[in-house]
């Protein structure tokens, strides 16, 4: 991977991140917001992976793999929480979730 190709990787990552932000800011449903967050994380992982090309120890790629693993955990927990909230309040929109606890 040459130096000239680097901006395109970063453009792609920025596009992915921006798409995630857009989804997070515009969608009402909590599931969509969670998906947006995933997109943003993937954008960030791409940036980590791209910049680790210049590191002989590949610490960025390792960090990216760790982030993916953490993301898996996070998504599974967040989904569980959202499912439980939906069961309790019959609400999936973020605007309606104004109360903490019962």
């Amino acid at each position: 991977m040459s130096e000239e190709q680097l901006p395109y990787y970063l453009y792609f990552a920025a596009l992915l991140f921006s798409s995630g932000v857009f989804v997070v800011l515009t969608k009402r449903a909590s599931i969509f917001v969670l998906m947006g967050v995933e997109l943003m994380l993937n954008g960030a992982n791409i940036v980590l992976a791209v910049f680790s090309q210049y590191d002989p120890n590949l610490r960025g790629q390792v960090l990216a793999i760790f982030a993916i693993v953490l993301t898996v955990c996070e998504v599974s927990i967040a989904l569980a929480i959202l499912l439980n909230i939906y069961r309790k309040t019959k609400a999936s929109n973020l605007d309606e979730l104004t109360k903490v606890g019962n």
Partner: protein, 630 residues
């Protein structure tokens, strides 16, 4: 003991008057008794001599002195005597009047006030009694208050006196030190307080220009005229002048002499052509008071006081005689008349009145063997000596006094002729009228008191026991002056009487046509030189001035106040605008700005989590931009 006697003398007439008022018919005799007690006690005090002086404290350390020295005691005795005689006379005179209880109360009140005035040594105390005497005079002038013209006459007499009293009070206040007891004065006063006090005395003693009230006062009951407006109250001014004459400024004393002289002439001239019997006597009183005031002015204090004393007798006698005549006319014609055109030939119906009237009239005219001659001589001689010390122009004073002697004889002759001589000018008179005892006694006492021998056995002497009794030296006079004045005065009197007799004797042309004499002959003399109109003009002038000042007040002062009010409103409106836009404006602006800012800031964190997140993102981008580009 003496103090007790003084209190009895002072209060007995008042108590008697109150008894007369409260007890109705029985009380009237008690009022006579009250005055009689007062007279007897004062006579005793007078004979026993001695000076009684008492001070009582009005305010702390502000004593009011009462002084009963010989002068005061002699005059108190005189007042009590005349008052007693007037009381006795009134028993008959007021017999049929409904208000006689009120009448006797007022008489008693007057006697009380007058004695108080004579006792007072402190000027403020004197002023209090001075006012009380004026009030009593007002009440008695207006006694027949239902008659037309009486209330206005009473009011005029009262108001003219008040004007003079203001001057008196101002004079007293101008003396302005703690000692206002006359007997404690040492030095001569300044001109202004002297003249003001003299003006106060002029008012009470009916001197020019205040003379008009005395003739107006003649609408009161005739015995009242005898007591108040002839014998006692009008002499109060002379008494005051007598007491303060050692302290009066010499220039003011000269004014006093001139005013007295011209008043004497004025009274004499005005008395000449009156038709009203009481008005003749009133003008005559003015004239005689002028003599007394002139006497004070020329330094013949004792002679003045002596004239006051003798005048009280013969003038009270004349007034009571006039009262008897009016009483008779009232019963004879069933109407109140004092007009001499309806009299004439009364000597047949009223022999006692005629006799006593003639005696008193002779005393007034100044014929030897009567008291008036002696006292008048003393004053004129003193005037002559005073003039010789002052200068040529000052001979005006004794000359006018001598002319007035002539006038006095003339009008006395006219009065006696027209009232008593000739035939009745009203035909249908009742013939039966008895002069009762109560009418006769006072007349006889007063006319006998007008004879010479009470004062000096020598009928043409002008020096009497009065001088030595009062402890004053008679004015040393050269025999030539006194002889000349006596001669001139006798000449004047004789001329006046002869002229009076020849003009007004029953068969003369004047007497024949007198019944039909119109009112408009000699209008100036008849109206006393329109002095009362002058007062009215003065009153109208004052009224105009008050109207003018009222208008001034309303237009100018009120206008200014309104203008100030409107100005205040305008200014406050302007301030309100300034307040609202200039002061409130920035504050409101600041508030508005903070409100907008607050809303803006609040909108960042408001609504929902996505907006918050968006702003968070904006913030992060800004921070990152800051780090990257600066």
């Amino acid at each position: 003991m003496e103090m007790l006697m003084i209190i009895v003398v002072l209060f007995a007439p008042l108590v008697g008057g109150l008894a007369a008022y409260l007890l109705r018919h029985k009380g009237i005799l008690l009022s006579v008794a009250g005055v009689a007690i007062s007279f007897v006690v004062s006579l005793y005090l007078c004979i026993s001599g001695g000076t009684i002086e008492r001070s009582f404290h009005w305010l702390p350390n502000y004593p009011l002195n009462m002084l009963a020295d010989r002068v005061a005691l002699v005059l108190i005795t005189l007042v009590a005597l005349v008052s007693m005689l007037v009381h006795i006379f009134s028993l008959e005179y007021m017999k049929g009047d409904d208000g006689k209880n009120r009448y006797f109360l007022k008489l008693g009140f007057f006697t009380f006030s007058m004695i108080g005035l004579l006792l007072a040594d402190h000027l403020i105390l004197l002023f209090i009694f001075w006012e009380l005497v004026g009030l009593a005079s007002y009440l008695l002038i207006g006694f027949w208050y239902r008659k037309k013209g009486v209330p206005s006459a009473a009011r005029m007499a009262f108001m003219v006196n008040r004007i003079a009293d203001v001057a008196l009070l101002a004079g007293i206040l101008l003396l302005s030190n703690n000692i206002l007891n006359i007997s404690e004065f040492k030095s001569v006063w300044l001109f202004l307080p002297s003249i003001l006090i003299a003006i106060g005395a002029f008012g009470k003693s009916a001197q020019l220009p205040f003379s008009g009230w005395l003739t107006k006062a003649m609408v009161g009951p005739t015995p009242v005229s005898a007591l108040i407006h002839a014998a006692t109250m009008v002499a109060a001014g002379v008494y005051l002048l007598f007491r303060v004459s050692p302290f009066i400024h010499p220039s003011a004393l000269m004014v006093v002499a001139l005013v007295g002289t011209f008043t004497a002439l004025y009274g004499g001239v005005c008395a000449l052509m009156q038709h009203d019997l009481k008005k003749i006597l009133a003008y005559s009183t003015v004239s005689q008071l002028g003599y007394m005031v002139m006497g004070i002015g020329v330094g013949a204090q004792t002679a003045s006081l002596f004239h006051l004393f003798t005048h009280a007798f013969f003038k009270a006698g004349l007034f009571l005689g006039a009262g008897a005549i009016i009483h008779f006319m009232h019963q004879a014609t069933k109407e109140d008349t004092q007009d001499m055109r309806k009299m004439g030939g009364l000597r047949k119906q009223l022999p006692w009145t005629y006799l006593t009237f003639i005696m008193c009239a002779m005393a007034l005219a100044g014929i030897p063997l009567f008291s008036g001659f002696m006292s008048k001589e003393g004053i004129i001689i003193a005037g002559w000596i005073w003039a010789s010390n002052i200068g040529t122009w000052a001979y005006l004073v004794p000359d006018i006094a001598l002319i007035t002697v002539f006038l006095t004889a003339l009008y006395v002759g006219r009065m006696v002729m027209l009232v008593f001589w000739g035939e009745n000018r009203v035909k249908d008179l009742i013939s039966k009228f008895s002069e009762t005892f109560t009418l006769k006694i006072p007349l006889i006492v007063l006319s006998v008191g007008s004879l010479w021998f009470f004062y000096n056995w020598n009928p043409i002497a002008h020096v009497t026991w009065f001088d030595s009794f009062l402890g004053n030296e008679a004015i040393p006079s050269s025999d030539i002056v006194s002889l000349m004045v006596t001669f001139l005065s006798l000449l004047m009197t004789a001329t006046g009487l002869v002229l009076g007799f020849s003009f007004f004797k029953p068969n003369s042309a004047y007497s024949q046509s007198y019944v039909h004499m119109a009112d408009n002959r000699f209008p100036i003399l008849l109206n006393g030189f329109h002095l009362t109109s002058l007062y009215q003009l003065f009153g109208i002038g004052i009224e105009r001035l008050s109207v003018l000042t009222f208008q001034m007040d309303r237009k100018v002062v009120d206008g200014a106040v309104h203008l100030a009010g409107i100005g205040g409103v305008v200014i406050s409106k302007v301030f309100a605008l300034v307040d609202r836009f200039i002061i409130d404006g920035p504050i409101n602006l600041i508030g508005y700005i903070s409100g907008v800012t607050g809303k803006l800031l609040a909108s960042f964190s408001a609504r929902d989590i996505q907006t918050q997140f968006a702003w968070l993102l904006v913030g992060i981008i800004l921070i990152l931009s800051w780090i990257l580009f600066f």
